[in-house]
Every structure is written in structure tokens, then in C-alpha cells.
């Protein structure tokens, strides 16, 4: 039987901020997303804030209404990534079978350990995190014989928990006590569909024939059938196996809503240059350009706090990693779909990725010049900082920095 640990850092970003600044110890703290101080949501709430009803994903005003004493701290993604790198180094010292699930979660498979040895290792990991990262930083650990149950176990005791689900008998006991959506893989939509079928819990789900689940949920029905029985054969994906990059993208929340096409054009060009730089760094080119934007609140949507998003994609004749070519395609999409109203956020992503080398050689001198220019700019910006050298039109543009999302996406390789 396998022995798998699921480790989940407790209220990670907020805990790191409390570790850095002891004046925040024991206080409700909310950390903003995107390293912003306004026009953003909470990406983490501290344990103290969560006890008072503050939830991840809340708008700042909502969190402050529920908890007027909350301290809002702007996110600092460099800090969290650095700490994650150190934490992963701790994990790597125990096993090479380490799957980095997100910036604050990991699975470890311990092939040579039984449950008791895994519990000892878990306590050791917790102690090392306190010494090597900081005494305020804690994690919850779940131990079981597969990833599904290890993650479920980890979520049962927070913060600083250690829960073991040793065998299938215990697994069924625990599954029968939890809500359907407490298990990873059942979200609000699947839960609603199950409720509509009269399935309120895992005990009832076990009574549903597999054929019925397959007919209702297609291939996902087999996963639900196994879930109800605590069965999960998915392997721990080792960190050293790099996942294929499917797309590279960037989005930016504007400091002020704007309907000025000049402002939007500058920001979009900057985003395209950032995306292009990242493509070149990975030696990739892309063919499909997806542009989307989020409209600013109107009097009607503001009352309901509803965002309106619009987007479209186009395919280039030839794959590219040139910022200007990507921008031209993106700007064309924008002009087609934009209704002229104020914009709050804009994003661009490039997919249909292919290796950039070996490259098709272009006979056009301007293509060759653009390539040399891009390589030169990349070298200078790599040494002296992003946008040290940039197009003249970006002289007055806002600063845009890359921010990792909690699931790390393409920055995963930077941790390894």
C-alpha cells in the first residue's frame, strides 16, 4: 500500500506576513492579490480573520465590513515564492517523489515508509519549517494511501494539523461524515448535479451504480464511483518532470478605469511584450492570440457586483514570439469587440505553442532585424531589469510586473 503525505501551508501568505512582522501576530490580516493595495481581492486571510468570517476571494470592502479591525497587507509574491523554494528544499530532502500542487500545497510519496514512519517524518517537516522559515509558519499534514484521501485528511484539522487515514475502513467512516464538496474534485456544479439526483452524501453515492454515473457524468462518473469508495490511483507527479506549457499569458488591472484607447493601447503593448519575452525565454512561439477585457462597473452592475467580461481569439498565419506581431493581432481583436465603455482589466494569452527552434528562416530583412532587436533587448533587460530598454511608445506607461498566481502555472520551473 502506498504512503502519501499531503502538506498544506496554513493561510500561507498571511502567515508569512505575520512571520515577517510580529506586530501582526494574533491579528486578523488580509493579503491582497496581484501585489496591489486597491481594486483587488483578498488572496489570503489569516487564521484570525477566517474565524471572524473573512474569506479568500472577498473584495476588500467586503472583508472590512465584516471585520473592521482587519489589517490589509499588499501581497509580496517575491517573498512567498522565496519561502516556497525553501520549503520545497525541505520536502526534497525526504523523497524525490514530490508533486508541487500549488504555491502552498504539495504531495509527497514515501515508498519505503509505513504510516507510523510517515507521521514521524511529518512532525520532523513541521519542526524544520518552524526553524528554517519561521516559528509562526505552520502546515496541516494529511497521511493516507492515496492522494485523494491524503488531501482530505489534511483539510480536516487546521491549522497545524496531522491527520491519518490508514485504510479503507477509516476512509469510508470519514467520507460519510464530510460534505460532497469537501473532497477535491467535486466543486459546486458537480455537487448540485448530485443533489439533483438525490445524492446528498458519499453513503448515498456508493449506492449509485457505476453505469448510471457514467451515463450522467461520462468518464468523470468512474472517478466519482471510485471517490465514494476512497479509491484513487492517480500517481504523484514528480517535480522533475516538467509539464508542457500550453499557453503563456498576462493580465493587468488598471489603476483607474479608462475608456481612453491610447491608455489601453500602451498597456496592451506592454502586456504583449511581456508575453513575447516569456515565450522567447522558453524558446516557444505561439499561433493563437486570445484577448479579453473586463468592463468597469456601471450603475447597474455595481449594485450586483457583477463583472462583464468580453474576449475573442485569432490565429496568426505563422507562429511568433514577437511582441509587436502579437500586439497587432491583439489590438485588432480589441477594436472588434470593444463597446467603447470604460475598462477595468485587460489580458492577453498566446497558445498553440511550438518550439521556437529550429526556426524557419525568413528571407525578409525586416524579420531578421526584428529578431536581432528582440534578442538584444532580451539580453539588456535580462541584465538590468524588465523594460530597461523598451519601445518609445512605452515611455509613459505604467509599471507592470509579473505576479505568480497561487497555482504557479509556468513559473513552476523557477522553483526547481
Amino acid at each position: 500500500m502506498r504512503t502519501i503525505l499531503h502538506i498544506d501551508m496554513n493561510s500561507y501568505f498571511a502567515t508569512i506576513e505575520q512571520q515577517a512582522n510580529p506586530r501582526l501576530h494574533g491579528k486578523p490580516v488580509g493579503v491582497t492579490g496581484g501585489d496591489r493595495e486597491s481594486r483587488t481581492v483578498l488572496c489570503t486571510a489569516s487564521v484570525e480573520a477566517k474565524k471572524l468570517g473573512v474569506k479568500t476571494g472577498m473584495m476588500l470592502w467586503e472583508a472590512q465590513k465584516i471585520c473592521p479591525s482587519i489589517t490589509i497587507v499588499p501581497g509580496d509574491s517575491d517573498k512567498y515564492l522565496y519561502c516556497t523554494t525553501k520549503i520545497i528544499d525541505i520536502f526534497k530532502s525526504y523523497t524525490p517523489f514530490l508533486e508541487i500542487f500549488s504555491i502552498d500545497e504539495a504531495f509527497l510519496e514515501l515508498p519505503d515508509a509505513d504510516i507510523n514512519q510517515a507521521a514521524t517524518i511529518s512532525r520532523e517537516i513541521k519542526a524544520r519549517i518552524k526553524v528554517e522559515i519561521g516559528e509562526w509558519v505552520t502546515c496541516s499534514v494529511g497521511i493516507s494511501y492515496n492522494k485523494l484521501l491524503a488531501k482530505l485528511a489534511g483539510g480536516l484539522q487546521k491549522p497545524d494539523g496531522l491527520v491519518i487515514i490508514a485504510d479503507q475502513r477509516e476512509a469510508l467512516q470519514i467520507l460519510d461524515q464530510v460534505e460532497l464538496d469537501e473532497v477535491c474534485g467535486i466543486g459546486p456544479r458537480i455537487k448540485q448535479r448530485l443533489l439533483n439526483m438525490g445524492v446528498r452524501d458519499f453513503k448515498t453515492l456508493r449506492r449509485v451504480p457505476e453505469e448510471y454515473l457514467l451515463a450522467s457524468f461520462k468518464s468523470y462518473g468512474a472517478i466519482l464511483y471510485n471517490m465514494a469508495r476512497g479509491i484513487d490511483e492517480t500517481p504523484v507527479k514528480p517535480f522533475y518532470l516538467k509539464e508542457e506549457v500550453k499557453s503563456v499569458g498576462h493580465c493587468h488591472t488598471l489603476d483607474r478605469d479608462t475608456a481612453d484607447p491610447v491608455d489601453v493601447k500602451q498597456i496592451l503593448l506592454k502586456l504583449c511584450e511581456l508575453v513575447a519575452y516569456r515565450l522567447r525565454r522558453k524558446q516557444l512561439k505561439g499561433k493563437t492570440i486570445h484577448l479579453w477585457y473586463r468592463s468597469a462597473f456601471t450603475p447597474e452592475t455595481a449594485a450586483l457586483r457583477l463583472f462583464y467580461d468580453n474576449g475573442m481569439q485569432t490565429t496568426l498565419n505563422q507562429s511568433s514570439s514577437d511582441g509587436w506581431i502579437i500586439f497587432q493581432a491583439a489590438w485588432q481583436i480589441f477594436r472588434q469587440i470593444w463597446d467603447g465603455g470604460k475598462i477595468r482589466m485587460i489580458g492577453i494569452s498566446v497558445s498553440g505553442l511550438l518550439p521556437g527552434k529550429p526556426a524557419n528562416v525568413s528571407w525578409l530583412p525586416e524579420d531578421h532585424r526584428r529578431e536581432i532587436l528582440a534578442q538584444t533587448m532580451d539580453k539588456i533587460n535580462g541584465k538590468f531589469g524588465d523594460f530597461t530598454l523598451h519601445r518609445g511608445t512605452l515611455l509613459q506607461s505604467v509599471q507592470i510586473r509579473r505576479k505568480p498566481n497561487p497555482f504557479l502555472s509556468d513559473r513552476r520551473f523557477k522553483l526547481l
Binding site: 512571520q19 517573498k79 522565496y82
Partner: protein, 84 residues
């Protein structure tokens, strides 16, 4: 917390692969550091910045060391009585 961004003079102890700020002078005050709470790094081009989150008594400071300029800065500070 106040964002400062001022250059400062720092006494630093280098011991066993660690760089530990000991005390610093800010606006004519000598501030002795009691505890280094967290250290992290960031980059801008080839410059590496070392950020030290520190306590001095009940006050919080964050210092930054720029390895290219070999210079120290006070990034942020939070002093005085804490609000409840």
C-alpha cells in the same frame, strides 16, 4: 506600515554563510535589531536584493541590501504603539 525607501548605514555581522544586520542609523537614530524575522530575495535584471524583515523592540523594519550597488535601504517601518 510606512513605505520609506531611504538609504541607511548598517552594521552587519557576517557569520557562517549568514549576513545578519546588527543595527542601523536612520534619521540620526541608532536602532539596534533584536530579531531577524524573515529573509527573502528578489531580482531585477542581474541585481539581487536581500530583504530583511526585522524587529527592534516592538517596532518593525524591513531593510534591503542591493548586491550590485552594495548599498542598504530602509524599505518600510512600523513604529510606536500597536492598535488593538
Amino acid at each position: 506600515m510606512s513605505v520609506i525607501g531611504e538609504p541607511i548605514d548598517v552594521w552587519v555581522l557576517f557569520s557562517r554563510y549568514r549576513m545578519q544586520p546588527h543595527s542601523f542609523i536612520w534619521r540620526h537614530r541608532l536602532i539596534k535589531i533584536n530579531k531577524i524575522n524573515l529573509v527573502h530575495t528578489s531580482k531585477d535584471g542581474s541585481a539581487i536584493f536581500y530583504h530583511f524583515s526585522l524587529s527592534a523592540g516592538n517596532n518593525f523594519y524591513r531593510l534591503k541590501f542591493d548586491n550590485l550597488k552594495l548599498a542598504w535601504f530602509l524599505e518600510a517601518a512600523e513604529e510606536g504603539e500597536q492598535s488593538c
